[in-house]
Symmetry: C2
């Protein structure tokens, strides 16, 4: 089975799986594995790795409209260097502090490849799931898309300082909490916008009609990928970004916008079936985490 | 740095680390990484792997005197086979159900080596830490020691059915909750009894005087390792068992025994300094997780 089939199979066996985080009692729990080969390009610092891996799990809490409490990490590496562990913890601490969570430690292990598994725990009285989008709702994203894709290209060019900076991000906790007041479904964009649309569509039994002109493409990505069509495709499918994709009644968007500081873009609307952009079907492609 | 030095370094940086689980608000959170090479001998079924890895994290909740709520797992494997994932989930579910927790899913990833990172979340109003042992307390263990060492030898002999059975264990949740009413310090025996004594000794700034005749050695291990001295050493240092090691005032032991069904053995007492058995210093050796 590939990852998508396996996840589908697991969802059938584990009822609380299938959203960005599992909801049990009033807790949200989510775990993520990141590997050097697929997730930390050459040039990624341990500071960025700590930040990004912990941030990825915090993003899953944000995507449920949750308030994070704590994060743990299992850190696996061919060797334990004091400076690397120190920098990893600094990154983990900083991203936690930024959203009012606490990094509380974890486990250490030896492995051939550097990898990190982070688990975040948060709380919510009424989380937002992938199911719940309703016909007539609009579909929106926070911020812009393609930031990580741009960072990867900067790493390839050895522009590591800028690349690391773009690889760190502020998890959308505040925004998730505000959006959760009004949204009917939500998830993050870590697998790419197109995959997010397919996931929400499947869980909510709906389709989407997207307007390509509205997609907020990251400025840095636009600068790197000059062809506008390529930039659009990358922004929509590359993933590894940690923005929120959500649906809400159109009349609530103004209220959400008033509650949060970053931009929100209405990129389309919920329809009965099929996922289309400018009237044409979009194939279900996105980032499959290696 | 080796694992022990790295953990010490991290404990200096992350205040809530250093116990079997981190305590924050009224929650306990713990994460553990297990690898095929070091933790799942040839012959280990995925059913046992799911059970054991989830059980290891539940044991950490038990070791704090906590009540578990949920467990997630990040499952990383060269390939995803439906039967293997199915069996893994069955094992994970069963060990959770046994102690009133729920397996709520996790993450999937590809890696060269099969590995699992499990994270358990539990609750406690007043957990038991490694610090707190007091001079004059007795030191005790639940059940017996050497069960996993015996299982490993059975795997080597290809007695896989029995080996798998012994590799699965009931996390000492009930016992941990009962013991926590009276104990002054606690941790599990997963790194070996000797290492547990050193950890509690360091955190509590005390020593121990152990009586070798009292060590409860697993019967199966005794049968496999005929030399009594070797069996004793293996039982004390091999680790990967999930019993509880705790200190408590001597007069409370009877009450603890009345509260729980399994055996508790007083193996020695808390002294001012040094860790000795039958009057001789014991070296700090134990299982270093690979």
């Amino acid at each position: 089975m590939d990852e998508q089939d396996a996840l589908k199979f697991i969802h059938g066996k584990v009822p609380r799986s299938g959203d960005d985080a599992a909801f049990i009692q009033n807790l949200l729990i989510t775990t993520d594995m990141l590997h050097k080969k697929s997730d930390f390009p050459q040039g990624t610092t341990h500071y960025t790795a700590g930040w990004r891996s912990v941030g990825a799990s915090l993003s899953d809490i944000a995507a449920m409209g949750g308030d994070p409490i704590a994060v743990v990490a299992a850190y696996s590496s061919p060797e334990f260097r004091k400076e690397e562990i120190d920098e990893f913890i600094r990154g983990a601490n900083e991203v936690c502090q930024m959203v009012g969570a606490e990094y509380v430690g974890g486990d250490l292990d030896n492995s051939d490849e550097f990898s990190v598994v982070t688990t975040a725990v948060g709380e919510s009285v009424k989380p937002v799931f992938r199911r719940g989008a309703e016909w007539g709702d609009v579909v929106c994203v926070t911020g812009d898309l393609g930031r990580s894709a741009a960072a990867k290209r900067l790493f390839e060019r050895n522009e590591n300082e800028k690349a690391n900076e773009m690889f760190r991000f502020k998890p959308r906790i505040e925004e998730g909490l505000a959006i959760a007041q009004y949204s009917t479904s939500m998830m993050d964009s870590s697998d790419g916008l197109v995959r997010s649309l397919y996931e929400i569509g499947k869980a909510s039994m709906c389709g989407f009609e997207i307007d390509s002109n509205t997609i907020p493409i990251n400025e840095m990505l636009k600068g790197i990928v000059e062809d506008g069509e390529v930039a659009l495709r990358v922004a929509m499918t590359y993933g590894e970004d940690f923005e929120l994709v959500f649906t809400a009644p159109r009349e609530k968007i103004k209220e959400i916008e008033e509650d949060i500081e970053i931009s929100i873009t209405v990129i389309g609307e919920v329809v009965e079936r099929d996922i289309k952009m400018d009237g044409e079907l979009i194939e279900n492609q996105g980032y499959t985490h290696g």
